[in-house]
Amino acid sequence: MASSAEEIKAHLKIYYMVFGALAVLTVVTVAVARLEVSIGMAVAIAMFIACIKGSLVACYFMHLISERGMIFWILIICVLFFFVLLLLPVITQFEPAHSGLVEAV
């Protein structure tokens, strides 16, 4: 963690760079969405860009990059459970017994 005024000054430069990167990536993600790509591809690209942007914010604005191990572990567990919650219910949608969706009685 940065503490002295000099270190903070060095950080300021990083903040502006990150800001520039975020703005550029926002433009890129909108531009890519206009391209005619398959939905799977579009999701992959959009999520990839969003993850980069998210990591930039977390690492530099939230200083996660200079934190110690413990909080990482908690966040990793958290993200793991998030994916569990995301994926398992979706898998049920594709199970054979669930495929019998009906429109109306």
Partner: protein, 335 residues
């Protein structure tokens, strides 16, 4: 086999082909649980007595070094794996992945739950379900909105009783109109939530000799009148006439013992005072479809009579239902 088929405080009668495996699994699990609990209980009680605080007795600081607990834990794990792989998964695999072949031999039924009744839709001899349309739904006469004008629907049967042929593959497609219900037949070891917006199939086979008529016969029992509680026999009927001292029939053959607690208790009293010491009773209908998922105010009344027939009788019932309906609609037209 059927002679043992009565209701009691352990398994209910088991009348489907696959149910035996489920019962077997439950029995094995319970023997396992019992063994574990007793073994463990003996150790527990021994400790409680042997190591109680008393003069001159001191606790020992160093932990006991035994591997027994580790072995027990491993054994428990291994046995659980066996239960899962060896006993549970085969049944479930069949229950989910091996539907009976479609064809004339498969009796297909559409089951639609609604607050608070079960609706059964049979495709009839052509094996095709007629079109349904939510716009045609009429709660009293056509809860499923079957389009009777539709060609496939001409020989369809709608019923609020479930009729099944014994010994044939039954293929039930379960859905719901409103909230989540659960289609449950305890005696068949069948349970499946009925979920609006989804149609989920379930299949089973009723044992060959498990017709309603035979079941009634086998469940006929003699009840000492002093031990009869109305609530426990409220779904039973008398198998013969019972008279009071004046010779008047107070409980006719085939009649239930009153429709509510007051009536029932009065009747039982009358019979006792008339000198009867025991009554021979049988269930009015031994099989039921019930709802296993809370579905609102009258959830508890959501049940349907389940009647099992010999296949020939079942076909006759289907014919009869079709004729009744067409006759009914003609009458309506005449009118």
């Amino acid at each position: 086999m059927l002679a043992e088929s009565t209701y009691g405080a352990w398994f209910p009668p088991m009348l489907s082909e696959h149910g035996g495996e489920i019962d077997h699994l439950i029995s094995v699990v319970h023997w396992f649980m019992l063994a574990l609990f007793v073994g463990w209980g003996i150790f527990f009680v021994y400790c409680l007595v042997r190591f109680r605080q008393r003069g001159g007795h001191k606790a020992v600081y160093n932990p006991v070094k035994g591997k027994i607990s580790k072995y027990v834990e491993i054994a428990v794990g291994v046995f659980e794996a066996f239960l899962l792989v060896g006993l549970s998964m085969p049944v479930w695999d069949w229950y989910k992945n091996e539907p009976p072949d479609a064809g004339a031999d498969r009796c297909e039924i559409r089951v639609v739950g609604e607050q608070f009744q079960w609706n059964f839709h049979y495709p009839g001899p052509d094996g095709k379900f007629g079109r349904t349309d939510a716009a045609l739904i009429d709660t009293a006469t056509n809860p499923l909105g079957i389009d009777w004008e539709n060609e496939d629907a001409k020989d369809d049967v709608f019923s609020q009783e479930m009729h099944l042929p014994v010994g044939k593959d039954i293929y039930v497609r379960i859905t719901s109109k409103d909230v989540i219900h659960s289609f449950a037949i305890p005696t068949m070891r069948v349970k499946q939530d009925s979920i609006p917006g989804m149609e989920i199939p379930v299949w089973f086979k009723v044992k060959k000799d498990a017709t309603t008529a035979k079941l009634k016969e086998s469940m006929t029992q003699t009840y000492p009148i002093d031990k009869i509680k109305w609530r426990r026999i409220r779904h039973h009927v008398a198998v013969e006439d019972y008279q009071d001292r004046s010779g008047q029939v107070v409980l006719a053959k085939g009649a239930p013992l009153g429709n509510n607690l007051e009536q029932g208790e009065k009747l039982i009293n009358t019979l006792r005072e008339s000198g009867h010491t025991e009554l021979v009773l049988q269930p009015a209908n031994p099989l039921e479809v019930i709802c296993a998922q809370l579905c609102g105010n009258n959830h508890y009344t959501m049940k349907a009579q389940l009647i099992t027939h010999e296949p020939a009788d079942f076909d006759a019932w289907v014919q009869e239902m079709i004729e009744d309906r067409t006759a009914g609609s003609e009458m309506f037209e005449d009118f």
